[in-house]
């Protein structure tokens, strides 16, 4: 069997090709939900952390991880969930943020910049036309991780990835 470190590298590589089921332009590694890959002699463990407690994509992701890992000789594969430290949008890779915007989702602000002010007026740029003149339509959007916005200039609605 190939060495432990080679298998760990191979696993990281295939996990980098597993896309988030609801945001298919960002991999689960870029999203920051793969918290660790560890191989021993005859088994490997992948540690995942959920984005939101109730996110329905969590099970699909675990399934996708198993399918992708089948290409790597891992021996037994254990997929475990870790809750602590809790996932934060600050873990999303910088290169993934640009892809989110290109996909039509305004990327999240850093959580320390997003300190809650009631009726807060942080600037969320429209991912379609780039205008800073946008308004919140709803605190929640199509998935638990997003809010709904609308651009005042181009009038297009869009999702904003909530800082979390």
């Amino acid at each position: 069997m190939v060495s432990v470190s080679t298998r760990e590298e191979a696993l990281w590589r295939v996990l980098g090709s597993v896309m988030d089921p609801e945001i298919p332009v960002v991999s689960i590694v870029e999203l920051g939900i793969v918290r660790g890959v560890r191989c021993a002699d005859d088994a490997c463990t992948v540690t995942l952390t959920p984005t939101y407690s109730g996110c329905p994509a969590t099970r699909v992701i675990e399934h996708d991880v198993r399918v992708a890992a089948a290409d790597v000789a891992t021996g037994a594969l254990d997929v475990v969930t870790s809750l602590s430290p809790a996932w934060t949008t600050d873990w999303i890779a910088p290169e993934a943020r640009a892809r989110l915007a290109a996909f039509g989702i305004a990327p999240p602000h850093a959580t320390r910049e997003a300190q809650v002010v009631r009726f807060a007026a942080r600037t969320v740029r429209c991912p379609h036309c780039g205008s800073p003149r946008t308004e919140e339509l709803s605190r929640f959007g199509s998935t638990p991780c997003k809010a709904q916005y609308r651009c005042i200039d181009c009038r297009e609605p869009f999702d904003y990835f909530k800082p979390h």
Partner: protein, 258 residues
């Protein structure tokens, strides 16, 4: 201690589970599409949290008497008297102002509770609480904004919000009650001391209500606050009907898989 911990975990889980089910009743019926989505998303967060608490409860139960129930068994095969949620969260949805008021009164307590539990000596409780806290901070932001918008809205919305507050207020005292089960766990550094949450909760509610032009009611007789309420399994008549609907399918087809 293990059975007390099991009971305490059910209290945490059942608040989330019952309120999630109530919010789920709004699916397809929200006053506007955005709020339909928002209330069910809050429900989804709570359901996820309920699952984490129930899974842990089942493991604690297994350690205590070797037969631990699964999340589904605990959710679908307990009767109303075995549920440990607060009376507040089982109250019917009413109109949207009633739902928002119930949500805000609970969220404002929930966020304080989870902040305390995030420092629990039980590391599993601390991890779940820290995760849930991030979600619930967002919930209280939203529900407090709605209380202000509707309270300080039109004459009609104001009157209906004040009526909702007046009707639900008698269920708020239970949130700050402490019984023997909790006392033992508080002393062990595991549970949060609900009595200590009363002052910060009241201060926050007063500030939001002031902005919402709503009056804080005089304290009436507080339902369930004297050691005989939802946390001890003594519920209002609304819970059993809600459970009948929630549990119907698994009870009819106990082996069903989906």
């Amino acid at each position: 201690m293990k059975l007390q911990l099991f009971d305490y975990l059910l209290r945490l889980a059942d608040n989330d589970l019952v309120l999630a089910q109530r919010l789920g009743e709004w699916v397809g019926k929200g006053p506007v599409l955005e709020e339909d989505i928002a209330s069910t998303n809050v429900g989804l967060d709570l359901l996820g949290q309920a699952r984490l608490w129930l899974a842990y409860a089942g493991e604690v139960e297994a350690r205590a008497d070797a037969v631990g129930r699964s999340e589904d068994q605990l959710a679908f095969f307990r009767t109303d008297r075995e549920f440990r949620n607060l009376l507040l969260v089982e109250q019917p949805n009413g109109h949207y102002g009633d739902t928002i008021t119930r949500q805000y009164l609970f969220d404002q307590w929930h966020v304080l509770l989870l902040a305390e539990l995030a420092t629990s000596r039980d590391s599993r409780i601390a991890a779940i609480a820290a995760k849930a806290l991030k979600e619930v901070r967002y919930h209280v932001e939203r529900s407090s904004q709605w209380v202000i918008r509707l309270g300080d809205g039109t004459d009609v919305s104001h009157a209906r919000m004040q009526a909702a507050v007046d009707a639900l207020w008698m269920y708020t005292g239970e949130m700050f009650s402490v019984d023997e089960t909790e006392r033992a766990l508080i002393d062990a550094g595991i549970a949060a001391d609900n009595a200590a949450l009363a002052a910060p909760w009241r201060a926050a509610v007063q500030s939001v209500f002031a902005e919402a032009t709503l009056d804080v009611p005089a304290d009436p007789w507080m339902q369930g606050a004297r050691g005989r309420g939802g946390k001890q399994g003594v519920h209002t008549e609304h819970l059993s009907r809600m459970l009948a609907e929630m549990q119907a399918l698994p009870r009819m087809y106990p082996e069903a898989r989906w």
